[in-house]
């Protein structure tokens, strides 16, 4: 889409995503969130290069050391470098966040699309099932699933994803309900497109905006749930560095070595802060009517 610029007379390319991106760029908070998130992704990708020590290198002559030039954030009870473990921990947190959200989006999105598209009994049955799932608080659901399936990365991802599914199903369903009566869907039906083609090719791509917002904010929740599960001993098991399990191990040393407890928590907080800022910014950019 092109429109003429008022002052210069030049034609400027416009479009939904381009406009949203411009609005997002103007939001300082969202940009800060995006910057922090990109930095975390880089940390996770290049952990091997950025971390000063291997995450599992034990040095019993330097246990419980506070921050110093040698170990910027100090060492833990095994003499492992806390900064290196935090950098490697970004991998696990982002991996859990991304994979659980993608799983929840695929399953929840499909359920929501089917529910909204077919309506009637299918919609009623699916949405009542989602209501029941939602009547168990997300964290409680994740804890009971993780307890049943046992600790581990894959189980934690599944537990968090299942708890998140109803949220996506509802978001997609409400978008589908507004989209399915549009003329282009009618046109697709007229030329004989199958239901699955209409849902996958026409409806879901048009629900992307609310899904992106929900996913960004949902990823913050997923990372928080993952660290909570690991803190309770239901997620990632030591020696794999995960921020929640680092805090769980550091808890008993809080009286004498508080640095062990402070830094992994700060890492979680920065990640959640970045995702929340970006999510809020995306919501404002993708639906400017919501902005206050």
């Amino acid at each position: 889409m092109q429109k003429a610029h008022a002052e210069t007379g030049k034609t400027v390319k416009t479009g939904f995503w381009r406009d949203a991106w411009h609005r997002l760029c103007k939001n300082k908070g969202a940009m800060l969130g995006l910057f922090l998130l990109l930095a975390l992704i880089l940390c996770a990708l290049f952990a091997g290069v950025l971390a000063p020590y291997p995450y599992d290198l034990q040095d019993y002559s330097h246990t419980f050391e506070g921050p110093s030039a040698l170990h910027l954030l100090g060492t833990d009870n095994f003499g492992r470098d806390i900064l290196s473990r935090i950098i490697y921990g970004a991998r696990i947190s982002l991996l859990v966040g991304f994979s659980s959200i993608i799983t929840a989006i695929i399953v929840g999105g499909l359920l929501g699309a089917i529910s909204g598209f077919y309506g009637g009994r299918v919609d009623n049955a699916l949405m009542r099932a989602m209501d029941i799932l939602m009547s168990i608080p997300g964290m409680l659901m994740a804890i009971s699933l993780a307890a049943a399936m046992g600790p581990g990365l894959a189980n934690m991802v599944i537990a968090i994803a299942i708890a998140d599914i109803p949220g996506y199903a509802r978001v997609v369903r409400s978008s589908v309900l507004t989209i399915k009566d549009q003329e282009y869907i009618e046109a697709a039906q007229c030329i004989g497109a199958s239901d699955s083609r209409i849902i996958l090719r026409h409806i879901i791509p048009n629900c992307i905006a609310p899904i992106i917002v929900q996913a960004t904010l949902g990823m913050a929740g997923a990372i928080l749930s993952a660290s909570s599960l690991s803190f309770l001993g239901l997620g990632i098991q030591p020696p794999t560095p995960e921020w929640g399990s680092m805090l769980s191990a550091a808890r008993q040393y809080i009286m004498n070595y508080p640095h062990m407890c402070i830094f992994p928590g700060v890492a979680i907080m920065i990640t959640i802060f970045a995702l929340n800022m970006l999510g809020d910014g995306l919501r404002d950019a993708l639906d400017p009517r919501l902005k206050n």
Binding site: I132, M149, S227, R251, G265, I272, N276
Partner: protein, 325 residues
């Protein structure tokens, strides 16, 4: 109004049944042999077979599910703890009041701090207070509850020595856990109150109230607040669910002998009937709070009340018409 409440109560029945099915199914699919957990590793195969038969674990899934729902609904029987051999219901009932107390304290703090900060922030938008409150709420939302608890212990117990770090022996033991959970959830309540108030105070009827010369304080309290509270009440209801989940973590951090800590301890000892019963009770509590929230809606939002009144009138009108015919 009573019809609305009755309808909401009826709608809860399938939800509660669904919750029971989910909780039972999760437990059913959990690997591990309950008979071995009761008898220990040294049990003979005959003894294991006998206990398995007694517990009805050889029955098909649907039979076991039906028996479980029947026991819960008609006998309040949640099974027996593998560890203590006592009925789960008794074990849970003795600990549940502690969790409820923590939840009530936390919700009170959350509502008090969140709603008042939200109102001030909205009425004084872009002021220093607004900026500080918004920044704090952003940090609060981003902080994991258990880490906030650990930091509270570090500052107020370890460094300053003002408050005890763990246990629940007196009122002073409740301060840190309640404030940790309450302030954490107040961040979300504050954000919601602020945005909802901002939307409402720009409405025409608020301008009208001001134009009529009503004092600003009364415009906010009598006109803006009630309408702004509708979405806030939803958030508070949802926060209660978060608080129940958070109570598992906070009770663990502060060693509070409530239901949350009991569930977590039972997970590590694989005492699944306790986990199942505890999760069920917390989920039911969450559903009941949501029911209360829905009833509160009807009070806050007169459209719901009038909707039912209109339906009643219509019915009454139709009946009258029929009788005259």
């Amino acid at each position: 109004m009573s019809k609305y409440i009755g309808k909401r109560l009826l709608m809860m029945i399938p939800v509660l049944l669904g919750v029971m099915i989910i909780v039972f199914t999760i437990n059913f699919l959990t690997p591990g042999d309950p008979a071995r957990m009761i008898l220990g590793d040294g049990a003979t195969p005959e003894a294991l077979a006998q206990v398995t038969e007694e517990l009805g674990l050889n029955d098909p899934y649907l039979v076991q599910l039906g028996r479980y729902i029947g026991n819960v609904v008609f006998k309040l029987d949640l099974g027996e703890s593998y560890m203590t051999g006592k009925p789960v219901f008794e074990e849970i009932a003795s600990r549940f009041p502690t969790t409820v107390k923590l939840a009530i304290f936390s919700v009170s703090i959350s509502v008090l701090v969140g709603v008042s900060a939200g109102i001030i922030s909205a009425t004084k938008q872009y002021s220093i207070f607004d900026r500080i409150a918004t920044s704090f709420s952003l940090l609060g939302v981003s902080m994991p509850t258990f880490w906030a608890g650990l930091m509270a212990v570090l500052i107020f117990s370890v460094k300053l020595g003002w408050l005890p770090a763990s246990g629940s022996y007196g009122p002073e033991y409740w301060v840190l856990p309640s404030f940790t959970l309450g302030l954490h959830s107040s961040a979300t309540v504050m954000r919601m109150t602020r945005s909802s108030m901002l939307e409402v105070i720009r409405a025409d009827y608020i301008r009208t109230a001001r134009a009529k010369g009503q004092k600003e304080k009364w415009v906010i309290i009598t006109h803006a607040l009630k309408n702004a509270m509708i979405p806030v009440v939803t958030v508070i209801g949802m926060q209660f669910g978060g608080l129940l989940g958070g109570s598992l973590l906070i009770e663990t951090v502060f060693a509070i002998p409530g239901l949350g800590k009991y569930i977590i301890d039972s997970i590590s000892t694989r005492d699944y009937p306790v986990v199942q019963g505890g999760v069920l009770l917390l989920a039911i509590s969450f559903s009941l709070v949501n029911l209360l929230v829905d009833i509160l809606y009807a009070y806050l939002d007169p459209r719901i009340k009038s909707q039912y009144k209109a339906a009643k009138k219509k019915k009454g009108g139709a009946k009258n018409a029929e009788s005259t015919c």
